[in-house]
């Protein structure tokens, strides 16, 4: 697949391409539902426009509308919630959650067919989702956000939640991580020992086992102190549920991470992440919250490490791969299904594809690098001790 690339005097030429002008079809998480339930309208910059999220005062339901009022373009996110409608700050036009104009106090009557765009919403896992489809169709059967039982259980902590706007990069950069085993060692100071991907339908999964980095102090690594097993799936283009089990002090710590994003423009997106942790026997709510906060801090560090790479890298449509790399081209073929019209989704974008990396060589080289780091540190420690 990389054979299509051109060379210049034998040197590989990077095809940077251009990020797509359109936005992915699919459910996009906008954040924890609770944060929108304060009686105020909230502005979300997404999909090349602005949206308003508000809670209907009487029904209690969350709604998403185009932020700009079709009357004179006022921004509803700067307006007020009045009953089950949001009122424009410009002329007090009222808009219901279904997109219909619910009233114009100073007018005799509402113009017939006065309607703005209401976005389809979903509340799941205590998070709010919005459906985006450039063709305006509803989600196909089976395309939904799976329920995470832990999010509704007293045996688990509450969600931690963070968001981070990334400018100067298309959201494909974060999706590429699904297949990128080696970056976990070099960027995140983790140590993958097993790595497999499965793509099928609208789901893309990464199975990864990793070992602790014994050459790293807690300050250097977000990686776990024990053996880790991770099972992470994107459901659609932007919402990943990652189940993680870590062996620590004779117990298995179970965590669910969310890694999700929504596009702001072709070259910026908002990245969000959060975690819940299952309480171990004897763990109080406070201890579970602290464990989730600690996990979240680790996640924050991890994403900052990714962002530092994205800020300085180029977009690349023709990556030059080696034999230990994951299936970048097949992942992008899967991802493309969300960027073409529904009738143009080809079977190869959704047909099942499995790819298991032979990690033997990488593990051997990484072990040697860890040993070297340990030896260097021991020598430095000995030298410091000798000076005293």
């Amino acid at each position: 697949m990389s054979a299509r690339s051109t060379t210049e005097g034998g040197a590989r030429v990077i095809e940077a391409g251009r990020p797509p002008e359109r936005y992915a079809r699919g459910w996009h998480c906008l954040g924890l539902a609770e944060q929108f339930k304060d009686g105020e309208p909230h502005e979300i910059e997404a999909f090349g426009t602005k949206l308003v999220v508000f809670q209907a005062a009487e029904s209690g339901r969350l709604h998403v509308l185009n932020a700009f009022c079709p009357h004179m373009g006022g921004n509803l996110a700067h307006g007020t919630v009045k009953g089950d409608a949001v009122a424009c700050p410009f002329h007090d036009w009222r808009w219901g959650g279904d997109g219909k104009c619910a009233g114009i106090p100073y007018a005799h009557r509402v113009p017939p067919r006065a309607r703005t765009r209401a976005w389809r919403t979903l509340e799941e896992n205590k998070q709010l989702f919005v459906w985006h489809d450039p063709q305006g169709a509803p989600p196909p059967e089976g395309v939904t956000i799976p329920r995470i039982e832990g999010a509704f259980s007293d045996e688990w902590s509450d969600w931690t939640w963070h968001s981070l706007r990334v400018d100067g990069a298309n959201c494909r950069e974060i999706v590429d991580n699904v297949v990128d085993m080696a970056h976990f060692f070099y960027v995140h100071n983790s140590f993958p020992t097993y790595f497999k991907n499965v793509f099928e339908g609208h789901v893309a999964t990464q199975y990864m086992n990793s070992a602790p980095r014994t050459d790293m102090t807690a300050a250097d690594t977000v990686a776990s102190a024990g053996d880790l097993r991770s099972d992470a799936s994107y459901y659609g283009p932007s919402y990943m549920i990652d189940h993680i089990w870590v062996e620590q002090d004779g117990a298995t710590v179970e965590t669910v991470l969310i890694n999700c994003h929504y596009p702001v423009s072709p070259d910026s997106f908002v990245l969000m992440y959060g975690a819940i942790v299952k309480k171990l026997p004897g763990m109080t709510d406070e201890m579970a919250a602290a464990a989730a906060a600690e996990t979240s801090q680790g996640l924050a560090t991890g994403f900052e490490e990714d962002v530092a790479i994205w800020r300085n890298k180029t977009r690349i449509d023709n990556p030059l791969l080696c034999d230990q790399d994951g299936p970048v081209y097949q992942l992008r073929r899967w991802y493309e299904q969300f960027y073409v019209d529904a009738e143009d989704v080809r079977p190869e974008m959704t047909d099942r594809f499995e790819f298991e990396i032979d990690t033997e060589r990488a593990v051997q080289v990484w072990k040697a690098e860890v040993e070297e780091n340990l030896a260097r540190r021991a020598a430095a420690d000995a030298a410091t001790a000798g000076e005293k």
């Binding site: 697949m1 990389s2 054979a3 089976g142 497999k196 499965v198 793509f199 099928e200 339908g201 789901v203 999964t205 199975y207 799936s233 791969l321 080696c322 034999d323 790399d325 299936p327 079977p347 047909d351 099942r352 594809f353 499995e354 790819f355 298991e356 990396i357 032979d358 990690t359 033997e360």
Partner: protein
């Protein structure tokens, strides 16, 4: 990639093995008829063990060559 037929259900998939631990499997039809994968959560099943056994048998039989020179 080379075709391999599942000894259990007869479905044919395309397989590339760069080494014994490495395996790439491309399905060319739905997993609806696979006894281990069929169902709403097929994407979340890591492997069909019967198909995996057939691939390993094909390597032992020499019907599937392990090829390090192929494309990544």
């Amino acid at each position: 990639m080379q075709p391999v037929e599942c000894g259990d259900c007869g479905n044919e998939v395309l397989v590339h093995k760069r080494s014994l631990p490495h395996t790439a499997v491309q399905w060319t039809r739905s997993t609806d008829h696979c006894p281990e994968l069929a169902g709403p959560d097929s994407a979340r099943v890591p492997v069909c063990t019967r198909l995996r056994a057939s691939i390993e048998q094909a390597v032992r039989d020499g019907a599937l060559t392990v090829d390090d020179g192929g494309e990544p």
